[in-house]
């Protein structure tokens, strides 16, 4: 009785229909897991991970280099812009300076010309005055001589009627001498 029951239990447990435990370790599964995983590992390592990781690395390097190059280019551009600005302001200053100089020169020239023309005018006027004075003097002298001659002629005519010409002339000379100079 006891023996048969024992056998029945063993038979049921080992039959496969009976429920095992999740903690049972099946050596066949260990074997297949090892084979499967190692196979998968070597296949993927050779044909998947290596190319994928390599291209990732290449791409990351490429991106990094590109970013660095862009940064550098930007810096250079910034430098160029600031240089340009500096040059531009320099040129503007120069232009301003030139314009100012030109203006100053023009002003000076204008002054000079004005001054010169004023002086010239003054000189012309004074020359003209001197000339007028001289002519006046000349005319006055001529007039004086003519008057003297006319007077002498007139006196001669008169005296020829009355007196000796010599006496008369003396009197006239004397009279003329007594006349004021002008």
């Amino acid at each position: 009785m006891f023996i048969t029951k024992l056998f029945a239990l063993i038979a049921l447990v080992t039959e496969g229909k009976a429920v095992g435990s999740p903690l049972d370790i099946n050596p066949g599964v260990i074997f297949w897991t090892t084979i499967t995983f190692l196979f998968l590992f070597f296949i993927l390592k050779k044909f998947a991970w290596k190319p994928i990781l390599n291209s990732l690395e290449i791409r990351e390097k490429f991106i990094k280099n590109s970013l660095e190059a862009a940064e550098k280019a930007k810096e250079e551009a910034q430098k160029l812009i600031s240089e340009n600005k500096l040059n531009l302001s320099k040129a503007e200053q120069e232009a301003q300076k030139i314009i100012n100089e030109g203006r100053e020169n023009a002003e000076k020239l204008r002054h000079q010309i004005l001054e010169e023309s004023k002086q010239q005018a003054k000189k012309l006027i004074s020359d003209a005055q001197a000339e007028i004075e001289r002519k006046n003097q000349e005319a006055f002298i001529k007039l004086k001589e003519q008057v003297a001659e006319i007077a002498v002629n007139a006196a001669e005519k008169i005296i020829r009627e009355n007196l000796d010409r010599e006496k008369q002339s003396k009197i006239v000379q004397k009279y003329l001498k007594d006349l004021p100079k002008n």
Partner: protein
């Protein structure tokens, strides 16, 4: 006394196996088996293979591991091919690229530090393998290979080997074992510390294996139990509650599938980093 106990347990087992048990069907879904249950379309019996006296029959979980491996190989070979055309991928390759970059930049780089490139292929493989296995369990007719402790233990063992060999290659075999014991430990403590540290080496992969296994098993059991409530209580009124809760757990399972793949990879990576840079 023994006789009576045996009598009782035999009866219980018999009752369970004859369909009276209300929980056996849950285990039927969780556990590995020698057949692919595609009912109502039929059942595919998988071949039994014996090699050198070892039973290496193909099981359901093995089939789903192969399926996962096949999917991964197809997907990633295609992804790799798109990089040959141009450095900037399009479409689906972008999605996988994001995950690959995530594993590289968020898992491997910060935890391993210098020299992470050597371990990156392993971490990527294990991450995607576990993730795909986890997700295959959520597909109808699917089965979670990672809810088999033999699978998780094997993966953890491979991680263990990577950790130890990585550490030994970096620090030398003697240097690696010397570095296990922290500096400044008193001489009389050294034997105890050595034992503790060497035990610690083995607890890490053990925790990895158990964590993944338990997480992937628990979610499925909860979903099945919630659905099972309908049949256990013999009423349809519980169905809306059961289905909505099961849906919630299902969505949670999606999250857990991602998180567990991440955690397994993350911890493997962390342990590799600790083995490589022992001064920390």
């Amino acid at each position: 006394m023994n006789f009576e106990l045996l009598n009782k347990s035999a009866d219980t087992v018999q009752a369970n196996s004859q369909g009276g048990g209300e929980s056996s069907w849950i285990m039927h879904h969780i556990l590995d088996s020698r057949e692919l249950d595609l009912s109502p379309f039929g059942i595919i019996h998988l071949p039994e293979i014996h090699l050198f006296g070892m039973d290496i029959s193909i099981t359901k979980h093995v089939v789903f591991m192969w399926l996962a491996a096949l999917i991964l190989i197809i997907v990633f070979l295609k992804t790799a091919r798109t990089y040959k055309k141009s450095l900037v991928p399009k479409g689906f390759s972008n999605l996988f690229e994001i995950v690959v970059i995530f594993v590289r930049d968020e898992i491997a780089k910060p935890t391993i530090g210098s020299g992470y490139e050597k371990f990156l292929p392993y971490l990527l493989s294990v991450f995607f393998f576990i993730l795909t296995c986890n997700l295959l369990g959520l597909v109808p007719y699917g089965s979670t290979a990672t809810s088999n402790i033999a699978v998780t233990a094997t993966l953890a063992t491979i991680s263990f080997l990577f950790i130890q060999i990585g550490g030994m290659m970096k620090n030398g075999i003697l240097g690696y074992f010397k570095g296990l014991v922290p500096h400044g430990v008193p001489l009389w403590l050294l034997p105890i510390m050595a034992v503790v540290e060497i035990l610690g080496l083995f607890t890490k992969p053990f925790a990895l294996a158990v964590r993944l296994f338990a997480n992937m098993t628990a979610g499925h059991i909860v979903i099945l139990a919630l659905i099972g409530l309908i049949f256990i209580l013999h009423t349809y009124f519980v169905a809306p509650v059961s289905v909505s809760f099961a849906l919630f757990i299902y969505l949670l399972e999606l999250l857990v599938a991602l998180i567990q793949a991440y955690i397994f990879t993350m911890l493997s990576s962390l342990f590799i980093g600790m083995a490589l840079h022992q001064e920390h």
